[in-house]
């Protein structure tokens, strides 16, 4: 087995561990977390004097059980997929992007501005790429700041991205509240071009739900991220830096350049997520639309184990939780789902190193 040739406690290598061991290590923590969350959910439901089985049934019926609920899940999953992919992209390079919140907002704002500037009747085939590019540039600009400060001055990206969240959101609030809003509201006028078709336009059963073409874009972005990370040279460098920066530097990779690229593109991905709300749902930028989605992106990346396709699954899971809260609200307050989100993140975070240790020691026993 591989552990015989590896030093004890070594991190998994780029291609070293067999897929079964990697799958065990990747899948066990989320499963454990799910079980813990289910138990916590039981307790919360019981504290409200309701039957857990009945409430869970209601949750499933309200989310996956009908077209509208499922459409809402898909809509919420779309934004989370973007922020989750953004966080996981940075983490693959060993960098923690906590700025998803402001990058998403900046992206949405840029997309709305572009949609406003474009003349009425601009075909979608032209408007969508333009809006996405500007959203990506805005998000990327926010991501570039911590990237630059990290490579140039060694400032820790976690703190800088958190601080930048507050700064960028205050700046956007100033622009909207002070200059660009429709009177009596905190949102911009409706965009002229770039409105995305909804799923309901294709299949009328989704009527009323906000799911839209951005969902397909999210899947494309996930595939592109996967291709870059696992099939392109730049992605190989990025992962090498994430596993062992010193070794990567020794191997001739410029760690600073990779960091710069990783955090900036992490911001680009998060920024592009702004199209889901702005182009797909409301057709304007509204102050605070990104609230919470950036932080949940961290949860999504974590549960998705930093794999683009895992992130899609995790986004779907967290979107189900969030929509499920609305479905059960008549019996148990939807706030229960806020608790469960926290529980899931905590449980995965604790299970990841623990499972790795247990698997390692059991394999070592088998080898001996």
């Amino acid at each position: 087995m591989s552990t015989a040739t590896q030093p004890i406690g070594a991190k998994p290598t780029l291609a070293g561990t067999p897929w079964r061991e990697r799958a065990e290590e990747a899948l066990i923590p989320p499963v454990v977390a799910l079980l813990v969350a289910l138990i916590c959910g039981d307790l919360l439901i019981l504290s409200y004097g309701q039957s857990p089985a009945a409430v869970y049934r209601l949750l499933l019926e309200g989310t996956w059980g009908n077209a509208y609920g499922f459409g809402q899940v898909l809509y919420k999953a779309t934004t989370l997929a973007f922020t989750g992919l953004a966080v996981s992209f940075g983490l693959r390079a060993g960098l923690f992007n906590i700025g998803g919140e402001s990058q998403l907002a900046a992206g949405g704002f840029a997309a709305a501005l572009t949609g406003l500037v474009l003349p009425m009747g601009t075909p979608l085939i032209l408007a969508l790429p333009l809006c996405m590019i500007s959203a990506g540039i805005a998000g990327g600009a926010v991501g570039f700041v911590p990237a630059y400060l990290k490579t140039r001055f060694g400032a820790h990206e976690v703190i800088v991205t958190i601080m930048l969240n507050f700064i960028v959101l205050a700046l956007l609030n100033w622009i909207i509240a002070g200059h660009l809003h429709v009177p009596e509201t905190l949102h911009t006028p409706e965009i002229h071009a770039g409105v995305l078709p909804r799923l309901a336009d294709i299949d009328p059963r989704f009527h009323g739900s906000a799911a839209n073409l951005a969902l397909i874009v999210a899947v494309f972005v996930a595939v592109a991220v996967w291709f870059y990370l696992f099939r392109a040279r730049g992605g190989y460098e990025l992962r090498a830096v994430g596993l062992q920066p010193d070794a990567a530097e020794y191997g001739g990779i410029s760690v600073g350049r990779v960091w710069l690229r990783a955090l900036t593109f992490s911001g680009v991905i998060a920024g592009m997520g702004g199209i889901n709300y702005v182009l797909g749902y409301k057709h304007y930028y509204e102050d605070g639309f990104a609230s919470g989605a950036g932080f949940l992106g961290i949860a999504v990346a974590l549960v998705g184990r930093n794999h683009p396709f895992g992130v899609l699954v995790a986004a779907f899971f967290f979107a189900t939780l969030s929509q499920g809260g609305l479905a059960i609200h008549a019996f148990v307050p939807k706030q229960m789902m806020d608790v469960l989100q926290g529980v899931v993140i905590l449980a995965v975070a604790m299970a990841v190193p623990e499972v790795r240790r247990i698997l390692l020691s059991s394999r070592r026993m088998k080898d001996a």
């Binding site: 400060l149 703190i159 601080m163 700064i167 205050a170 706030q335 975070a349 604790m350 623990e354």
Partner: protein, 289 residues
């Protein structure tokens, strides 16, 4: 505005920062990242209102607030020290959990999704300008107290050793894990007191009432370069921005949003080292083997 009322306002705004930042300094000096201060404050605020509401005494509220913060601090400590979970991830989780738990219990105990009923508080004499509140006086002295603990006591020495060079600390018989448990507990209790002050001052709990104050406290910790006194001065500086802005509002000189940015912008500048680099404790964020 006369200078006295400016000062009193500044101090009252600074008290939650002072509590939370003092706690944050202790935890970070022991090597544990304190992104959790916001969550500790929020849980402390809620537990204080819960305790005060059911007992009628704000002192019971203070006690239950401290317990509320301690519970979350212990979750943080067990996850990061016992299970060696990523400290940043756990920090995010604790903050989300605190928002969720306080929302759920707000609904459960007070049947509201926005705020609790009005509860008793301290002081209230209009002439005292808030200075008849014992928590305020504790808040003023908490930073010097923590400076004494960190620099002048054996425990403080262990905290600093655990944060700078855990292996060396272990080799001379210090249990780094135990030191970190205690440090995180202190940070939880102190940050919670910041939340307690806030809630009792406003006589109620409102959803997400800490509104980023825990992050301002972290800014103060970093801007104060992980020193309790300098962090306290940073808290006062950040707190001065608010009454200053109210003062300036008449003239429309600076939009309020730009005043809000000051603490965060200063922190980034401090981290980038434009004026004297802020260098964190060497073992900050690293799980101890």
């Amino acid at each position: 505005m006369n200078p006295i009322s400016f000062l009193t306002q500044m101090i009252r705004i600074a008290i939650p920062y002072l509590f939370a930042a003092s706690g944050g300094v202790v935890a970070e000096r022991s090597g544990i990242v304190s992104l959790t201060l916001e969550g500790f404050m929020l849980s402390g605020a809620f537990a204080a209102v819960l305790g005060t509401n059911y007992s009628g005494s704000p002192w019971v509220g203070v006690l239950s607030g401290m317990i509320g913060g301690l519970i979350f601090a212990m979750i943080h400590a067990v996850a990061t020290i016992r299970y060696r979970a990523d400290q940043v991830v756990v920090g995010v989780a604790i903050n989300l959990l605190a928002i969720g738990v306080t929302r759920f219990f707000l609904k459960l105990f007070f049947a509201s999704s926005s705020n609790s009923p009005r509860v008793a508080g301290f002081g209230g004499n209009p002439n005292a300008a808030g200075f008849d509140n014992p928590l305020l006086w504790i808040g003023i002295f908490v930073a010097p107290l923590m400076a004494f603990v960190i620099y002048k006591t054996p425990f403080g020495l262990r905290v600093r050793a655990a944060g700078e060079h855990p292996e060396a600390a272990e080799s001379v018989g210090v249990s780094v894990k135990r030191v970190r448990y205690v440090a995180v507990a202190i940070s939880g209790i102190l940050a919670a007191l910041g939340g307690v002050y806030l809630a009792l001052d406003q006589h109620q709990f409102t959803d997400q009432m800490t509104a980023g104050r825990g992050f301002i406290a972290i800014s103060a910790v970093i801007f104060g370069r992980w020193d309790p006194i300098r962090a306290a001065l940073a808290c006062l500086l950040f707190a001065a921005a608010e009454p200053l802005q109210i003062q300036l509002q008449g003239s429309h000189a600076i939009p309020s949003q730009f005043v809000e940015m000051i603490p965060y912008a200063l922190t980034i500048i401090a981290l980038a080292g434009v004026v004297g680099r802020a260098v964190p404790p060497a073992a900050l964020g690293k799980a101890e083997g």
